[in-house]
Structures are given as structure tokens and as C-alpha cells.
Amino acid sequence: MATTGASAERIDGKYIRRFDVHQRIQHIMMFSSFIVLAITGLPMKFSGWASSQWWMDVWGGIANLRTVHHGAAYVMMASFVYHLVYLGVNIIVLRRPFPKDMLPGIQDVKDLVQDFKYNLGFSDQKVQFGRFSYREKFDYWAVGWGLVMMVGGGLILMHPVGAAKILPGWIIPLALVAHSDEAVLAVGWILIVHMYFAHLHPLIFPMNKSIFTGKVPMHLYHEEHPLEYAKIMAAANLPLDAGAEEKPAAPAPAESPVFMPARVPEQS
């Protein structure tokens, strides 16, 4: 079942398919290992904090915690390899089109500027995104850069003697700087930006489940990716508001879909 391209196959009831099963598994591997790595790694960086010392004692000392950190790192590396293999098989073996939607371009800079203009009130023209917004592209490539830093630096820190055999000695303290600063950057970005756009945004709250189900509700797709939504609807010969067809059944959906669940009892 297609999850890319302008195809009527992507429509599943009131949903539009967006992620295939491999992407969903990769995300699950990524976020579960990320959480373990963060809660085991940060106390090592902030070792002077009393909370860090308490947390270390919970795990039975830094030796145990470091072992868990290494174990979760292997899971994250596996998800990285999985993604590269997945891309290679899709493009080379299955001859699927190269996912050029994910490549950054000048349009992303224009979108960024327009988004800020709209959000700051200098324009009433909301940005219209295609399959991937500039935010999603940045997230994707930032994870790529971050993985190279974190995995590269982490492997050097895991095997400092072996690293010094093939690389100059200063690579070890440099790896520590990169690994530790990049970790704070990654955790900060996830907590601030990713949590907002995946959970806390008023249109999304409490959670956008599409990364687990693979499917996005039509009205949300229209809101977030209107350009691609229009292509899909055109391919399926459906009107643009097909996703909103059942909306009159819900109480005043156009006002604020956010609070819809809370209004269900009123209706009954």
C-alpha cells in the first residue's frame, strides 16, 4: 500500500497513509533508545548534581549505567543501519523513485521566512507545505548529523585506546566535547521543538499518532501538508473537503478540533 506519491491508494477511509511499517519500526527503535540514552547519559555529563548521584545509585553505580548506555547505543546504531538499508533497497532493488521530497531546497528558506511572517502577524498568508515541511526536513537531517556525531564520538569514547591507534590522540577529548554537547542539543531540540509539533500544538494535542499507525486524519493532512493533500485528492477524484465530510456530525468542529473529545458528553 502506497505511502508516497499522489495516489488514490493512499486514502484509507478518513485517513491518508503516510508512513510504511519500516519507517514506523525505525522511529520506535530510535525514540526508545534515545530515551534510554538520555536518561543514562545526562547524569554522566552532570555528575556533580545530587540527582545524578541518586540516579546512579538506583542503577547500582556508573558501571551498570554505562553498560545500559552502550546497549541502547547499539539499538540506535541498528536503527540507523536499518534506515540506510531500507533506503538502498527501496531505491536500488525495488526501483522506487528517489525520495527527493526530503532534500532541502530554496523553497524551504522561503517557507521559513513566510512562516515567521505569518506567525508574527506580518502576513495573513499561511505557508502551504508539500510532503515535508522545512521543520520535518530539518529534523531529519539534524538526526543524521547528530547520529554521525553521537555514534562517532561515542565509539571513540567506548574504545579510546583503539581509536588512538588509528587517529591522533586529541580526538578523544574532542569526541567527549562533541558527544556531550551534541547530546544536550538533541535532548533540548526533542523536548522543545519535536514535543511541541508532535504533541503540544493546539491542533495536535495530546498526540499525533500517525508515526505508530502510519495514517494521518484527512483534515490534519489538509492542515499540515495542503499541497500534497490536494494532489492526492485530485488523483482520487475527491473534493478537497472530503476529509471534513462527517464534520457536521461533531459539535462545531471548525471552531477548535482540539477540544472535541471533551465535548462528546455534551452531545449525548
Partner: protein
């Protein structure tokens, strides 16, 4: 009205399986680690620091607690006042503590040092109970006629007194950078009790492997820091680095700081000050024979714990200095780069979040007309950006 997801497809079982896999891998590593942990503790790098020469087992392997002393035999000794119910008792064969352990007599029991300062002759029995020398009688150190002895001890004479039993340690100490100045009359450097006693008193020296000991791995850095973190004292000798802070922020310092108190044996694998600089035989870093002087010596020191390290590994060690332009500049520039990158990116992220949230809030405050209008765009034609209200250029604009 959102409908519940009708069928999650493969995602739910796959999600459960993936999380189970992560937990299994993590759990395996955690379990795998705990098995050899106890075996690894035999490779303690700090065995030279153990000063306790009391045999703990006899030939049959049964534990022995030696209560004999060097000055008296059991036949000569009066009844030893040991309370059998007390876990930590001590020997006081000549009842010295009847006067010296009486705190009410503290005011009169003082003696003047040659330099004019006073020394208290009170000995706290509570501290004595935890001394490694609690079964050694007072007269062993203070002489058979202590009231006629030349006292009190200086740093040098105290080291000499310890050396009557701990001969090897004394030989090392007296030729070390801490010991040599004592012979020359400089009493600034540390003597035995400065490192081995938490209070500086010889009466409560604890065994090195006792977690409360000031010479226990976790406490070594603090003990050295008593002098080496004192800027006034260190400036006098031209030692400028912040050795304590830099150690505690290093791999070695963090490892020992974060190791579990309940599994103290883990700490024996972790490097403290003495593992690189030496303990009784400690040498100045300016001494060409010091274990940290020059890359060749430093590499050998690293290899005690990092087999096959070599000079290239050692050359990346920042030591107690931060990375500077003249000291591993690659790390200096790396720190600058990541400092800017981290803060700039996170600041951008904050902007990326507060601006749409702010717009949503402003729209909300302006009431239903505006809000309804914005959401009605969901039903616009073709999803193309249809320019509307082009005259609106300011956020204060009211509709």
C-alpha cells in the same frame, strides 16, 4: 469528530516487539555486566597504598584478629579492658585514657610546641574505636615512658615514628617530594597523618580500604585537595592548576564520583590522584622521573589501566589544564564550535515553537470571527496559497 483508528495494522505488534527487543538488549547488557564485575575487582591499581600489615588469616585460612602488641606479651599484660559486646574496642594497657581520655581535664592537658602553639593532649575514645591501630597500645608509639619523651611530634618525627613499623612506606616517603622538604626543615608538605587521618590526628587512622578512610579511593581527591586546592599554599610553590576541580570533571573523577557506595570494590578499578602521581613515593610533575613527566612516562602510567595505550593515546590527555590555544588547540576550537552550535540551534528551536503558539494565542484572544476564518481555510479551494487581506501588514490590525 475523530473516529478511533479502525485498525492499527502491523504497527501495534511491531511496536511491542521492538520495545521488548530494546528492553531485552539493555537487560542483557546489564545482566552480563554484573557477572564479571566481582572478578574484575582483583585488578586494583592501588595495592601499594595499603598500609595495614596485620595478617587477616592464619595458615588454615581462619580469620585472626591480632591483639598482641610489640611491647608486651599476653602474660605481662594486665587485663585488657575490651567490652566484648562492642564491635570496635581498643587496647589501653596502661590506662592512659583514664587521664588523657577525660574531656574534663582538657583544659589543663595541653603542651607547648617549640613554635609556641599549643597542642591538646586529649585523646577522644570515640574516635579511637575506629582506628586501625586500636589494638596497638599507646606505648608502642609514645614510648615506655611517654611523660619523659621528647614531644610533641613534628611532621618529620611523626613520619619517623610510623616508619619504625611501616619501614617500606617510610623509605619511599622520605625521598618523595613530600618527604624531602621535611628533612630540610620545611613542614609545609604532608606527613602520614595528613593523608591517612580524616582529622589529622594519628589516633584515628583508618584502614585504606575502609570507605570512611581519607585514603579510600573515593576520598583521595578531597584529601589531596586539602592542600592542593588551597591557592595560597599552591602559589607559594608555583602550582597553579585547579587540580581538584579538573579531576572531578574528568572521566576518572566522574567515574569514581558516580560509582555506587554500596559496591565500593568497583572503586578500586578507578584512577585517583595517587594512581598517576604515586602515593608514598609521590614526585613533582617537574621531576623528570615522575610517572607523569613526559609522554614516555605518561604513556607507561596510562598503560597500567589502558593496556596498549602508547604515547599517541597519552598525547590526547588534557591533564589538569583546560584546552587552550597552546594546549591541544583542536579541542579548544571544538569546544567553541559546539558551544555556539548548541546555543544557536536551541535558540532557533525556541523561536520556532513560541511564534506559532503565540499566533494561535493571539487568534484565540481576538475571538471567534478571526478564528473561524482561519480554520475555514481548511475548506479553501485547491490548497494553493490564496492571497487574502493583502493589506494586512501589522500584527495590531483589527478585523
Amino acid at each position: 469528530m475523530l473516529k478511533p483508528v479502525r485498525k492499527a495494522g502491523l504497527a501495534l505488534p511491531v511496536a511491542c516487539a521492538a520495545i521488548a527487543c530494546v528492553l531485552a538488549v539493555v537487560g542483557f547488557f546489564a545482566w552480563y555486566h554484573t557477572v564479571p564485575a566481582s572478578a574484575d575487582t582483583g585488578t586494583s591499581p592501588s595495592t601499594t597504598a595499603v598500609t595495614d600489615t596485620t595478617p587477616v588469616t592464619d595458615l588454615t585460612g581462619a580469620p585472626v584478629i591480632a591483639v598482641t602488641t610489640t611491647t608486651t606479651t599476653p602474660e605481662q599484660a594486665p587485663a585488657i579492658p575490651i567490652d566484648p559486646s562492642a564491635p570496635h574496642a581498643y587496647v589501653d594497657e596502661n590506662n592512659c585514657l583514664s587521664c588523657h581520655g577525660n574531656h574534663d581535664a582538657g583544659g589543663v592537658m595541653t603542651k607547648q610546641r617549640p613554635d609556641g602553639s599549643m597542642v591538646e593532649l586529649y585523646v577522644d575514645p570515640a574516635q579511637l574505636r575506629f582506628s586501625i591501630h586500636r589494638f596497638t597500645d599507646c606505648t608502642t608509639c609514645h614510648g615506655a615512658k611517654p611523660h619523659e619523651a621528647d614531644s610533641p611530634f613534628t611532621k618529620l618525627s611523626q613520619a619517623q615514628k610510623c616508619g619504625t613499623c611501616h619501614k617500606y612506606e617510610y623509605t619511599q616517603y622520605i625521598s618523595s617530594v613530600h618527604g624531602r622538604p621535611q628533612v630540610e626543615g620545611n613542614s609545609d608538605p604532608a606527613t602520614c597523618t595528613d593523608c591517612h587521618s580524616a582529622t589529622g590526628s594519628a589516633h584515628n587512622i583508618e584502614r585504606v580500604l575502609d570507605p570512611n578512610s581519607s585514603a579510600y579511593p573515593k576520598n583521595v581527591a578531597k584529601t589531596c585537595g586539602k592542600c592542593h586546592d588551597d591557592p595560597k599554599l599552591m602559589n607559594k610553590y608555583g602550582i597553579v592548576e585547579k587540580v581538584y576541580d579538573s579531576y572531578m570533571n574528568s572521566f576518572h573523577g566522574k567515574a569514581i564520583n558516580l560509582s555506587d557506595d554500596n559496591t565500593g570494590l568497583q572503586q578500586l578499578n578507578m584512577a585517583t590522584c595517587i594512581n598517576c602521581h604515586g602515593s608514598h613515593n609521590i614526585a613533582a610533575v617537574t621531576d623528570p622521573d615522575a610517572p607523569v613527566a613526559g609522554m614516555e612516562n605518561l604513556a607507561k602510567t596510562c598503560e597500567q589501566c589502558h593496556p596498549g595505550a602508547g604515547t599517541r593515546f597519552a598525547s590526547g590527555f588534557l591533564g589538569h589544564k583546560g584546552a587552550e590555544l597552546d594546549h591541544i588547540p583542536q579541542v579548544y576550537w571544538g569546544e567553541k564550535f559546539f558551544y555556539v552550535l548548541t546555543r544557536a540551534t536551541l535558540a532557533g528551536g525556541v523561536l520556532l515553537v513560541i511564534t506559532p503558539f503565540g499566533r494561535w494565542g493571539v487568534d484565540k484572544l481576538r475571538g471567534g470571527k478571526k478564528r473561524g476564518k482561519r480554520h475555514s481555510k481548511t475548506h479553501d479551494q485547491a490548497g494553493e496559497p490564496a492571497p487574502e487581506n493583502d493589506t494586512s501588514q501589522t500584527p495590531e490590525r483589527e478585523e
